[in-house]
C-alpha cells in the first residue's frame, strides 16, 4: 500500500499539529528528554523547586510471624526527613484492626508532626489479633508534604494462631445416596502446650444419632505435622449408615474437650443432601419444579439441548435408559451410552433432546390450559423401573 502525500513539509505540519493537539507543549518538551513516565516528571520538577522535604523509610512492611489470637503487637516504622525543608506528617487511614499510635516526642497535636531536615520520627502501628485465626495483613498510612511521596502506606502481616482449629471446618456431603454408607473425617488441632482432654463427642441432632456414628482418637505426630504450630488434637471419624431420609441434613458434631483448664466445645457443621439413586441435571432442568423447561420454540429454527441422568448406589451400572413414550411428538430424544464419573461412584448418561426444524406445532407449556409434555424412560434400575421426565414446551409455527 502506498499513500499519495503532497510533500514532506505538509506531513511535517500535520504531524506537528497532531502532536500539539494531543499533548500539551510542556509535556512534549519534557518527553523529548525523559522517559515517558509521569513519575519521572514529578520528581524532576520537585527537585528543581528549592528546599523541600524528602520522606525516607527503610521498610514499609513488617512481618509479625505467628501470634496468638487476641494478642496485640506493635511495630515502629521510622520515617526520616532526608530533605532540606521541614517534613509534615499526618495520620492517614488504617484498615480494620490496626491503629497508628500518637506520634512520639514533642510537638503540636497528636495526629501530625513537623520533622526537621535530617531528623526522624517513629510511626508506631498497633494491631490486635481478632477473627478466627489464619493469615492477616493490615495497613496504615501517613500523609506527608513531600510531593514525591505524598502518602506512605505501611503494612503489617503475619499469622494468627487460634486456640483450636477444625480441618475441615465443616463437612458437606452433596448428593449422597440414601442406600449407601458414607464416611468423613475431621481433625481438631489444638495449639496450646497442654494436650487437650476429650470429654464427649456427639451428634447435635438426636434424630440422626442412630445413623451417624463418631469415633475418636488422638492425632499422631505425623498428622500434627500437617498443621504448623499444632501441639495436640484428635481425629473424629464419622460414619453415616444407609437409610437416612431423603432431603437435607443439617446437624453438627460437637466435641467437648478441656484445654488449659478451659472447657471448649468444637462445633463442626455436618450438612448434605440425601437423594435418590437417579437424578436429572442440566441447564434447562428446573429442580424446584422438577420439570424440563424448554419454553416456546420456533418450529422453523428448532432446538437442541442436553440434560444428564446420573445414577448412583449399588444398581448404578444396571441403568440403561430406553425411551418408551414422548409427548409432544415433535421431540426427538437420543440417549448416550453410560460413562463413569471420576472414581465410578456415579454413572452419567447424556440425554439429547432435539426439536427438529419443521416439527409439528404443540402446546405443552405446563399451564392450566396446556398439559405438560413428558419423556417416559425405562431405566433398568430395580427400584425405579420407569422415569417420567416432565417437559414444558410449546412448538410454534
Amino acid at each position: 500500500m502506498k499513500l499519495n502525500l503532497p510533500n514532506p513539509w505538509s506531513v511535517a505540519i500535520i504531524a506537528a499539529l497532531l502532536g500539539s493537539l494531543t499533548g500539551s507543549g510542556t509535556a512534549l518538551l519534557r518527553a523529548t528528554t525523559t522517559p515517558l513516565r509521569t513519575g519521572a516528571f514529578a520528581t524532576r520538577s520537585a527537585k528543581s523547586s528549592g528546599p523541600r522535604p524528602v520522606a525516607q523509610t527503610s521498610e514499609t512492611t513488617y512481618n509479625f510471624g505467628r501470634v496468638s489470637l487476641g494478642g496485640t503487637g506493635s511495630h515502629a516504622f521510622v520515617v526520616r526527613n532526608a530533605g532540606t525543608a521541614p517534613l509534615l506528617i499526618t495520620k492517614g487511614t488504617t484498615s480494620c484492626t490496626c491503629t497508628v499510635s500518637d506520634f512520639e516526642g514533642e510537638g503540636e497535636g497528636k495526629n501530625s508532626r513537623n520533622v526537621s531536615a535530617g531528623d526522624e520520627i517513629v510511626v508506631r502501628i498497633k494491631w490486635t489479633g481478632k477473627g478466627e485465626g489464619g493469615p492477616f495483613r493490615q495497613s496504615a498510612s501517613i500523609l506527608t508534604n513531600d510531593t514525591g511521596r505524598p502518602e506512605i502506606a505501611f503494612s503489617i502481616e503475619g499469622t494468627v494462631i487460634p486456640t483450636w482449629k477444625a480441618e475441615p471446618n465443616g463437612i458437606v456431603m452433596s448428593g449422597i445416596s440414601a442406600n449407601t454408607a458414607s464416611q468423613a473425617e475431621v481433625k481438631i488441632y489444638t495449639f496450646s502446650d497442654q494436650l487437650p482432654r476429650l470429654k464427649k463427642c456427639r451428634i447435635a441432632d438426636d434424630s440422626f444419632a442412630d445413623r451417624i456414628g463418631i469415633e475418636d482418637r488422638p492425632l499422631t505426630q505425623e498428622e500434627l505435622h500437617d498443621e504448623p504450630e499444632a501441639k495436640g488434637g484428635f481425629l473424629l471419624s464419622i460414619d453415616i449408615s444407609p437409610g437416612l431420609p431423603l432431603g437435607m441434613i443439617r446437624t453438627s458434631v460437637e466435641a467437648s474437650f478441656s484445654l488449659d483448664e478451659e472447657d471448649i466445645t468444637a462445633v463442626v457443621p455436618v450438612e448434605g443432601i440425601v437423594s435418590g439413586d437417579l437424578m436429572l441435571v442440566g441447564r434447562k432442568w428446573d429442580r424446584t419444579y422438577n420439570a424440563l423447561r424448554l419454553g416456546t420454540v420456533s418450529s422453523q429454527t428448532g432446538l437442541n439441548t442436553k440434560i444428564f441422568l446420573t445414577a448412583k448406589g449399588e444398581f448404578r451400572d444396571n441403568v440403561r435408559p430406553r425411551v418408551v413414550d414422548i409427548v409432544p411428538e415433535g421431540l426427538n430424544v437420543k440417549i448416550d451410552p453410560p460413562s463413569q464419573i471420576g472414581g465410578g461412584d456415579v454413572v452419567r448418561i447424556g440425554i439429547e433432546i432435539q426439536i427438529p426444524p419443521g416439527a409439528p406445532p404443540a402446546n405443552n407449556l405446563c399451564t392450566k390450559t396446556a398439559e405438560q409434555g413428558y419423556i417416559l424412560l425405562e431405566t433398568g434400575h430395580p427400584s425405579t423401573p420407569t422415569l417420567k421426565i416432565p417437559v414444558c414446551v410449546a412448538i410454534a409455527e
Partner: protein, 522 residues
Amino acid sequence: MHCHLQIILQSITCRCACITLLAIASVGIFSAKVSAATPNRGQGISDTVEEEFRQRNGSLFTDWPTPQAVLVITGELDGYIEPCGCTGKENQKGGLSRRQNFLTALKSEGWPVVAVDLGGLVKRFGRQAEVKYQSIADGLRQMGYSGIGFGPADLRLPAEELVAAVAPVGNEPTPFLSANVGLLGLDANITPRFRVVEIGGLRIGITSVLGNSKSGDIRNAAIEVTAAEAALQEVVKLMQPGLCDHYVLLSWGNPEEARSLAKSFPQFDIVVTAGGADEPPSKLPVLENGARLVELGHKGMFAVTIGFFDNKDDPLKSQRVPLDARWGEAEDMIDLLATYQRQLESLGLTGLGLSPVRHQTGRRFAGSDACGDCHTYAYEVWENSSHSYALTTLEDQEPRRDGDPECLSCHVVGWAPQRFEPFEGGFLSMQKTPHLAHNGCENCHGPAAAHAAVERGDVRASLTERDRLREELAMSIDTPESKQKVISNCLECHDLDNSPEFDFEDYWPSVDHTEEVTDKNE
C-alpha cells in the same frame, strides 16, 4: 498508529525531516497518553466522594499511561454479593455492583479489559447458597468475565445446581473453566479446561485448578477432580507454549501450593492464589521464575488489576483496587440483587430448607413485649435503642432484605445469628410471629416463654422452679467471666463484618439497662 507511521515513512521522499517531525508528533500523542485521565471513580460520583475514599483507601493508577490491556482479577467473594456487612455500607468494601462500575470505568477510559475470577463465589451450603451462586454467576456473565474458576465451597453445591448455573447459555460460551474439575466428569465438557482471549493486541491464556489440598474436601461424587499437576501438564500442552503473550493460572489452594505450581509450570507469568490474608499486598510478589503471585484478600473487597504496557523497561504495572464507595452503584447489579431477594422471599423459609432447630435450652420465646410487662426500665432502654427497630431497617432497604435469612438472623428474636436459621418458636414472619420482630431481650438472655408464663400466672410452678427460671435468664457483667459471656453474645451479631468498630465498653452505655436489677435488689 505504528502501522500508519511505517506506511508514511516508506512513502515519502524526504525521510530525515519527516522522521524528526513525526517523532515530535508521536511524542505529542504519547504525552497525551501519559497525561490522560486514569479511572478513579464510577459514573456520577462527585469529586468530594472520590476524594474522601482516595484519602481513606489510597490513590489509584498513579503514573499509569494507557495500557495495551488490563487484566482484572477478582475472587473469594465468599457469598458477599453486597459489600461485606449490613451497617454503614458506605464504609465497607466489595459487592458486585461496585465491581461492575469499576470495570465500566476502565472501559470508559478506553482501556481494553479482560476480567477473571478465582472462584469461591459462595462459602456456605444450602438452598440460599445455591440461589446466590446462580445470581453471582449471572452477574459475572453480565460483566463479561472471560474466566471463572471453582472454589471448594462452590463445588459442594449439588451438581445439578452447578451445571444449571455454569453451563453455556444459547450460543454464548461459559466463562467457567477448570483444568482439573469436571462437572459430571471432565469428559462431559460442560466447562472448558482453558481459554485464550485476544485483547488489545495481546493473547492471554487462562486456566484454573483446584489445589490438591482442597480436593479432599469435595464429597460430591458427580464432580470429578483430578490431581492439579497432572491436569496442568495436559492443559499446558493444549495451550501451546508461545501462543500467548501471557498465561494466567487461577489456583485455588494455599499460597505455598500456588508457589509450587508456579515453579513446576513456569509458563504462567500470573499465578493467582487463594488463602492469603484479608487484604492483598499492595505490591505483587515476584516469584523466583519471574511470575507474579496474586493474592486477592477475602469477601471480594478488592480487584487486583494488572496493566500490560508496550514498554520494555516497564511492561507491567499492578494496582490493588479497593471496591469502595467511590465506584458507586450499578443499576444492572442492583436489579440482579433485587431478583435474588425476590427469589428468597418467594422460596420462604421452607423453600430454603430452613426448618427451625431446637434451642440448646429446649425453651421457647415470648417476645420483648412480654418482658416489658415487668421489666419496665429495661424495656424502655431497649425501645430507645436501635435494637428495637432492627427489622424495620431491613424492610426499609431497597431492595428490602427481610426475606434474607443471612440478614434476618440478627434482626429478629429467636434465630442462631451465625448459622442463619430459626430456633423452634423463633421468628418466622411478620404475619405469623410479629411479637418476635426486631432484636429483642431474649437474643441475649435466652428464651423466656416459660419464665413469662410462670410470672403471669398462666402456669403454676413452685417457688424453686420460678427462681430457677429467673436465674436461667439473669446475666451480669460484674465478674470477668460473666462479662466475657455477655460480650460473646454481642459478638454473635456485632462481628468483624457487620460491626468492625464494636467495642463493648463504647457500646454498652447506650443499652445499659442494669438499673432495674438494682431496684429489685433494693
